[in-house]
């Protein structure tokens, strides 16, 4: 296939003026035609909705009524005085921290292990990535069973070890831990592979030098590897943060997918921001204006956190 055009006789048609015009058009204009589908479709179904969210958020806008009254910042004012919003923000941050920090540290250590000359490299890599294949819904359902109060395997193990049973869903801290475990289980292996790829790109000589200086394996990891792959670490931190701020399926299904799922437990102990958005936007009354204010606030939070990440890294870089 690759050389099919070569096998044929050269096109004998000498470019006449019309042909030449077509040739020039093809050469200079067609590239824009090839990248256009991406930009057009992304603008239509990605960028435009996100930008239009800001406009909707300034209105009293509901699917059920045709009138959209401009209310200025009223939705935002209501949002910032709603205790449930702050509750959801705190829950989201807590779950994010619990899920991301241990996960990325574990991924770093595991990637370090995988840089050794192991038997069964492919097997270990496949095994690491296996949890990532399961959908968030599957993960949430499986772990909701494992974390069950009465018949869950985890409570049974805890009891057998002499620790008491935990009603994982009931408590704020315990439910956050359970949800963080779901997120970490799905993504640790994925991040491990990303770190492994970055580590393999570090020149061997750097390690040789560190070894001659008598650095052990662990100090090699933290003194040599981590500084060398810092851009990758920053990338994973930002991506995990953006993902973590939008956690939805895990808490929704952990709460049982019904009314208790939408509120993140009966006393909203694990309602995240996206669940709060969903509750207002699609679960009761289609309050699109208010839900858009939630979305745009989340967007602002994401931008601020990304900027903080960037500044932090810049500072570390300039100080070292």
């Amino acid at each position: 296939m690759a050389i099919a055009t070569k096998g044929r006789a050269p096109n004998p048609r000498k470019p006449a003026t019309a042909g030449r015009l077509r040739y020039r058009l093809d050469l200079h204009a067609s590239p824009y035609l090839y990248i256009a589908p991406f930009f057009v479709l992304f603008a239509a179904f990605g960028l435009f909705p996100l930008a239009f969210t800001a406009w909707v958020s300034l209105h009293d806008w509901s699917l059920l009524s045709d009138e959209h009254v401009f209310v200025g910042a009223e939705n935002y004012a209501n949002l910032l005085t709603d205790g449930y919003f702050w509750n959801a923000l705190v829950n989201t941050m807590s779950i994010l921290a619990l899920a991301t920090v241990p996960q990325l540290l574990a991924a770093l250590c595991l990637a370090h292990l995988l840089t050794f000359r192991l038997r069964g490299q492919t097997f270990f890599r496949m095994g690491m990535l296996l949890p990532n294949v399961a959908s968030v819904v599957a993960v949430a359902v499986i772990f909701s069973q494992l974390f069950g109060r009465d018949f869950g395997l985890i409570n049974w193990v805890l009891e057998a070890l002499g620790a008491g049973r935990i009603d994982w869903q009931a408590g704020r801290a315990s439910s956050h831990v359970a949800i963080a475990v779901m997120v970490a289980w799905k993504w640790t292996g994925y991040n491990t592979l990303i770190y492994l790829a970055a580590m393999q790109a570090v020149p061997r000589e750097v390690y040789e030098a560190a070894r001659l200086d008598g650095a052990g394996r662990l100090s090699q990891l933290f003194r040599v590897t981590v500084p060398m792959i810092r851009p990758t670490i920053v990338f994973t931190v930002i991506v995990s943060t953006i993902y973590g701020l939008q956690i939805f399926a895990e808490p929704q299904l952990f709460g049982g997918a019904g009314a208790s799922g939408v509120t993140g437990g009966p006393s909203r102990q694990f309602q995240t921001l996206t669940l709060y958005l969903y509750e207002h936007g699609f679960n009761r009354g289609f309050e699109f204006g208010y839900a858009s204010a939630v979305a745009w606030t989340m967007f602002a939070v994401i931008v601020v956190i990304a900027l903080l990440n960037y500044l932090l890294v810049k500072r570390i870089r300039s100080s070292s």
């Binding site: 690759a2 050389i3 055009t5 096109n11 048609r13 050469l27 067609s30 590239p31 090839y34 990248i35 589908p37 479709l41 179904f45 990605g46 960028l47 909705p49 996100l50 930008a51 239009f52 969210t53 909707v56 699917l63 292990l113 050794f116 000359r117 192991l118 097997f123 270990f124 496949m126 095994g127 690491m128 990535l129 296996l130 294949v133 399961a134 959908s135 819904v137 599957a138 359902v141 499986i142 069973q145 494992l146 069950g148 395997l153 289980w185 592979l193 770190y195 790829a197 953006i242 701020l245 939008q246 929704q252 049982g256 997918a257 019904g258 996206t274 936007g281 699109f288 858009s292 745009w296």
Partner: protein, 289 residues
């Protein structure tokens, strides 16, 4: 092994020894493998039991004999056959579209010269950071306007292109596509699109497989948007059908986890066949990204 190794060989050997993992490393990795695999295995155990068996102390750890019965119950409770079909339609359309448009754009960015191409590529990369999920409300309003709510079109539309795909194919074609081949085809009078179709696409095939697998997986597992835009059970994708099963006051776990197994098995099959490519794709994307 009886010959005396030269000093150089010995040094190389020592280096290997240092790089060789101890027993602890293997133990750690085996433990990680156990924790990776166990939840999936355990859902098979639950899926093959009836609910009374799950209430036993100690809980069961070996598969039982009720799998077929549970599968029957899943299909009686929700139209899971529709759900599997809907998910297949959505995922395959999204995959075909993403692979085609990404390769097309990647070819333009990697091999064609045009004004502002660098700036446009930067724009593509920047869009990867945009949390488009936050635009669901206007997206939903858009689908209402187009009369597409509760249709598979609405599910497919936002997935038709993605920035990662364009970036991934650009990087691949930059390295893998010889410029001479394109020039030669041009000399033969082939149009740019014909060059794309007959010369570039075959070269891009290995990367297209990787991108295809990753895209298929993401599309199959998508949940938030389908949940919002689909309302009738016969339109549900697998993930939405799965979550509809786990509602209610008391969750019927053997039913839900049987459905989970049914939803996950196609992916496990894909993973067993093409997992190596996925790993390669993730690792390539990491180094270049």
């Amino acid at each position: 092994m009886t010959s005396i190794p030269s000093a150089r060989k010995r040094r190389a050997h020592l280096r290997l020894m240092r790089n060789r993992p101890g027993r602890l490393a293997y133990l750690t990795l085996v433990a990680v493998m156990f924790f990776s695999g166990f939840p999936l295995y355990y859902s098979l155990v639950v899926a093959s039991k009836d609910n009374s068996a799950l209430a036993q102390v100690p809980p069961p750890v070996l598969p039982g004999a009720n799998l077929v019965e549970n599968v029957g119950r899943v299909f009686d409770t929700v139209p899971f056959d529709f759900a599997l079909l809907n998910s297949a339609i959505v995922s395959l359309s999204v995959t075909a579209s993403v692979v085609f448009f990404s390769t097309l754009a990647g070819f333009a960015f990697a091999k064609l010269e045009f004004r502002a191409s660098k700036a446009l590529l930067v724009a593509v990369v920047a869009t990867m950071m945009v949390p488009v999920q936050l635009g669901v409300i206007p997206l939903y309003m858009l689908m209402v306007e187009l009369h597409l709510t509760d249709t598979l079109w609405a599910v497919v539309a936002p997935g038709l292109v993605n920035a990662f795909g364009v970036f991934f194919m650009t990087q691949y074609l930059r390295g893998a596509m010889p410029g001479d081949l394109i020039e030669a085809a041009r000399m033969d009078g082939a149009s740019t699109f014909r060059i794309f179709w007959q010369v570039v696409f075959p070269v891009a095939r290995p990367a297209a497989v990787v991108l295809g697998v990753l895209t298929f997986l993401t599309a199959w597992n998508d949940y938030f948007w389908p949940l919002i835009v689909l309302s009738s059970p016969e339109k549900y994708t697998v993930q939405v059908a799965l979550s509809s099963l786990s509602g209610g006051y008391v969750t019927d776990y053997s039913l839900v986890l049987t459905a989970t197994m049914l939803a996950t098995l196609p992916l496990l099959a894909v993973f067993a066949l093409l997992g190596k490519y996925m790993i390669a794709g993730i690792m390539q994307g990491a180094v270049k990204g």
